[in-house]
């Protein structure tokens, strides 16, 4: 009788591991760990920049200007450096309700600033209150008609795109963008020109009303749309024609230049 088959490789969980096996794992385990780290490095380093939006939660800022609420609440700062500041709530909600009682007056209000390039947004906080200022002159607003346009770009929710979520565009973010629009956050059409520069146009419907809810299903994919462009304060709007929005989703989104999530 022979016990010839010396056990050097066969592993049983509750017995002492054979020497051959222990040696094998002293190599395999570190190799596997290194492989995992390499994989992590590879995947992470392939992520692209999501632009230069900043959601500054370090301190509240005060904005003073002329408040309009149709179709979206915007404070127009006049003077040397005119600027139109979009107002939103803390969550995925527009600030139309809070702002409406103070419409068409000079106000000041504080909140957290969200900025990206030339764009500024103010996120109200629960303690934000609108203070009506002494009449500081005539209402500065007249809409300037810029004519018919047809544009190709991506409809995004302005709050996430301007800096709250990075990236705040593209398919990964699509469900969120849709939720934001349904909550009344203003939709923005972001367009890239041949030089890769980005332009944003606030979208409203033909009657000049909010287009948030009606565009909630057409966000985060490349589209073409047409309508009339107009300037109000420091901001460009498009009154898009109903039925003109066409998804360009026959191709992968990524092949629409770079996805607009990226700079």
């Amino acid at each position: 009788m022979s016990q010839d088959n010396e056990n050097t490789e066969f592993f049983v969980g509750y017995l002492q591991a054979p020497a051959g096996i222990s040696k094998f794992y002293k190599i395999v385990v570190p190799v596997l760990l290194l492989f995992a780290m390499g994989f992590s490095f590879w995947v992470s380093s392939a992520q692209k920049s999501a632009g230069q939006g900043v959601w500054d939660l370090s301190g509240e800022v005060e904005v003073r200007g002329y408040l309009t609420v149709d179709p979206y609440p915007v404070i127009h700062i006049t003077g040397e450096q005119p600027r139109s500041v979009i107002l939103v709530e803390q969550t995925k909600m527009g600030a139309g309700e809070s702002a409406r009682p103070y419409a068409n007056q000079w106000v000041s209000v504080s909140g957290f600033a969200i900025t990206r390039g030339d764009w500024t947004m103010l996120q109200l906080v629960p303690s934000s209150t609108f203070t009506v200022l002494e009449d500081a002159g005539a209402a500065p607003l007249a809409a300037i008609d810029m004519g018919e346009v047809e544009l190709t770009g991506e409809i995004i929710d302005s709050k996430c795109f301007l800096g709250v979520m990075k990236p705040g565009a593209g398919k990964a973010h699509r469900a969120c963008a849709s939720m934001c629009l349904r909550g009344g956050i203003p939709p923005l059409l972001v367009v890239k020109n041949a030089q890769g520069e980005k332009y944003g146009f606030m979208l409203m419907n033909e009657n000049g009303g909010s287009a948030s809810i009606e565009l909630a299903n057409q966000v985060a994919v490349p589209v073409t749309l047409s309508g009339r462009m107009e300037q109000r304060g420091d901001m460009m709007y498009i009154r898009y024609s109903e039925g003109s929005v066409e998804k360009l989703s026959s191709t992968s989104l990524a092949s629409y230049g770079e996805s607009l999530a990226y700079n």
Binding site: Q3, M37, A46, K171, M179, S250, S255
Partner: protein
Amino acid sequence: MSHDYVAVQWNHRKKVYDIALWAGIALYIAVFMLVSIVQHPGIEALSPMTLLIRALATLAFFLLSIILCIGPLARLNTKFLPLLYNRRHMGVSMFIVALAHAVLATIWYHSFGVQNPVVAIFSSPGSFDSAADIAFQPFGFFALLILFVMAATSHDYWNANLGAPIWKALHMGVYIAYALLVIHVALGAMQDDSTGLVPAMVGLSVLTVGSLHLAAAVVSRKADKEIAAEEPWINLGSWREIENNSAITASVGNNERVAIFRYEGNKLAAVSNVCKHQNGPLGEGRVIDGCITCPWHGFQYRPEDGRAPAPFEERIATYQLMLEGENVLLNPLALPEGTERPVTEIVDMIAST
């Protein structure tokens, strides 16, 4: 060898395994976050939450791919058996990582809005007009559900109470979950990706998992002696082809597989190839301390009667053998589980050399 049920049977080796596993998980997430913080500093920084969601997602997918490779690797080379022994710990850890990804994604993308977050997963905008337009979140949700059921029933308690065949079938669900996740990624992250990274990641995984399964299937088919069940006594060839303390396997009709062991040099015994614990391949096991020992988790059976040594109670089917010169003949009709039958002895080992 089997056991009573305790929460988890810990031993030193499992602890080392778990420490290595969770150190790896922590390191992976740390590397992922750090690389991005260095690469996109200051106002270019990506949201930490997005980074975490992506780190957890890719890590869960990586772990799942490894888990799916362990089975075929262990069939191709017994050196990988220790990974199999602790595969369930890796499975449960992978589930925890995937769950963290899903919960954070649901909070980040689907909460704080006008709709219930879980409902919002299913009302993500999209259409079936084109692949780019199909919502990807529900695929992740259903994959998570499958992974949850598997993690929740991973303990031996469920295995014993559901019965090995049902448990095994349930745990085949992992392949459905894997397929759902490939779709989740292809319709989601891949649509935003212009670097080719995401298709490379998914392709690499599918290719590795697929080819290892194929290779393992080919190898175990080759090892099998294929025989029609009706044949009365089947000739399996010389006993010399059976290494001492090891087995050869044969399939006898209806997917029944038999393991024929040689042990103590001159004894031969045939039993079912299927372990009562989790259907482990007994024919790839060894005879240790006089017992057939399963390669997966070490359950044991006596070659004489197919019963686990006391106090354990598992029983497997046995088969009759006889010798015709050097040739081993197998009766393909299984005897009831735990039936004792005479062990076949090779009488004149030298003379027949």
